[in-house]
Subunit: 331 residues, 2 copies
């Protein structure tokens, strides 16, 4: 099995992308198709160890979609690393793809190249977040700025399958992210989605007030992509700031200062656990092929985790599981 | 000067409300009009100390707007503590009001009772948040689920005045909360507001990507009320969860465990600093009178801070400052 990797997407591309992808391939023994400017990729590969026993190939793609361009720029760039990577998956040469590039462009490209599963109208990003009691899947975390109520129901069905098949969570519960617990609160989208979810037969527990997002009340948290993306980004910012504030608070007393030294490892481990950039990628659900999207700031370690996830979801046949579950649920 | 306090609003009403309001009045030497069910309020007052030297009066109001009711329920309840408190301010008997009740009902009531300042079309909640470098004002943090671009410009003008007059921040900068740094990213509201802010003459620094919300790049952070409310609630949830996760991480090693004990005070102080429920209230800006809205979970300490804020803003004539600045800016 080969995974196609967009080696040019992300703030630290191609260095972090190539290093991370090779690490995953070495660990899990799968093949890689590294897509992008051959020279740049080969320069990075020269630094990698133990390549001789791996099936790593470079696929040349001269263009790159820049972060400042509109997502639609990808349509004018058939030679972009993103398009070439997606084509490799569409043609069956690769079993899944990964990109840490322009999220909007990845969604457009993957959508056009792979098509949708029956019963799903829009692809959605599913990001795993830590909670007080374990993990939850936030869906949609950024693929669709605007959604309709029925899209949220479809996201719910996919989230439940991903939680079971991808994360091994038995009996996942769905919560609808909202600014109030009551059904009457929030925007029209949330109110209408609430009614549809109630009737859907899915394991829906009702509105999940945003004050409980990380509490562990639900394993699948539904929202539109703008809301989900904002929630993740605000969280990222808060973790950054809290770390600074915590260190400052600790420095105020000598006793606490000693505590800081002793708790440094815990702080570091916690950071890694909640850091969106460290956690690897989010699968883009609803497509006929596996596409994992990475954070723009992805480190080599995050890329390793994301590429490993793409491999795991392809090997576990997530698309097949989604198709059969959706057929049964008939959402 | 008297402050009218809705003694019945909030999860811990009337106990926490009465205790907090009395503490503020005792500390800052102003009068109180405690509005609600007389018997319940007087029972709480019996527990308070040093009342004899204070001007604390009870104003009877038999009704309460319940959190589960729609905001408009307040229209059918002229005898609610909220309406009676607002009327005391409208008639000039009190200089400002505080309520930790149903936010939507507070906004409706204050809007109807006080009217708007010239040049402002919608009242907006302005919540102070901690940042890496100090504080920032998030506006609107929950008064308007939907906004138009010109509303955000008006909120910006008010935020700048509040930052200067209320928080003593010299040269506050305005950032527009968005899911991307680029002007082209985000929803139509954000794109159009961005263009208007650029032309407004206000100290606008551009989009503030949500990953930088707590970074200290801007002292006035603009968004619609749904986005702002969600951002605060997600933050609250994350702080809750992080505390739990941090303690769990620390317990994993003996060394870190010692660190936890030593850093307990720092953790506690940090929690208070970022805890929305601890921080007191948010002024509802744009009205001809001062109204401070408290978090539903307000503790006595939070109420004390919020009532003190209402007093400070009334004494500092925030409404006059807003009116004259808006006349000059002609937003």
């Amino acid at each position: 099995m080969h995974i196609a990797v967009d080696a040019m997407g992300g703030d630290r591309a191609p260095a972090a992308i190539v290093a991370g992808a090779v690490a995953a391939a070495r660990h899990l023994r799968f093949g890689l198709l590294l897509v992008g400017r051959s020279e740049a990729i080969e320069a990075e590969l020269e630094r990698a160890r133990g390549l001789s026993r791996l099936d790593v190939r470079t696929v040349n793609a001269p263009d790159v979609v820049d972060m400042a361009e509109p997502a639609s720029a990808v349509r004018r760039k058939p030679g972009s690393s993103l398009r070439v990577a997606a084509d490799l998956v569409a043609s069956g040469e690769a079993a899944a793809m990964f990109s840490a590039g322009h999220t909007g462009a990845v969604v457009l490209t993957a959508h056009a190249a792979f098509g949708m599963i029956d019963g799903i109208e829009r692809p959605a990003l599913a990001t795993t977040i830590p909670t007080r009691t374990g993990h939850a899947i936030l869906i949609d975390s950024g693929a669709n700025l605007c959604c309709r109520p029925q899209h949220l129901v479809q996201f719910g069905a996919m989230g439940v399958t991903l939680a079971r098949v991808g994360l091994g969570i038995a009996g996942p519960r769905i919560g609808l992210l909202a600014i109030g617990e009551e059904e009457t609160k929030g925007l029209e989208l949330a109110r209408e989605a609430h009614q549809r979810l109630k009737r859907s037969g899915l394991p829906f527990i009702g509105n999940l007030e945003a004050t409980r997002m990380y509490a562990g009340d639900a394993e699948v948290i539904l929202c539109d992509g703008h809301t989900g993306n904002l929630a993740l980004k605000v969280s990222e910012s808060l973790v950054d700031a809290l770390e600074g504030l915590f260190v400052r608070e600790m420095r105020r007393s000598l006793k606490a200062r000693a505590g800081l030294l002793l708790s440094k490892t815990a702080l570091l481990r916690l950071r890694k656990r909640v850091d969106y950039a460290e956690q690897g990628g989010a699968p883009l659900l609803g497509l006929r092929k596996i596409c994992v999207v990475g954070h723009g700031r992805s480190s080599a370690k995050a890329v390793r985790n994301a590429v490993a996830l793409a491999h795991r979801l392809a090997e576990g046949n997530l698309v097949g599981a989604l198709e059969s579950e959706l057929k049964m649920a008939a959402v």
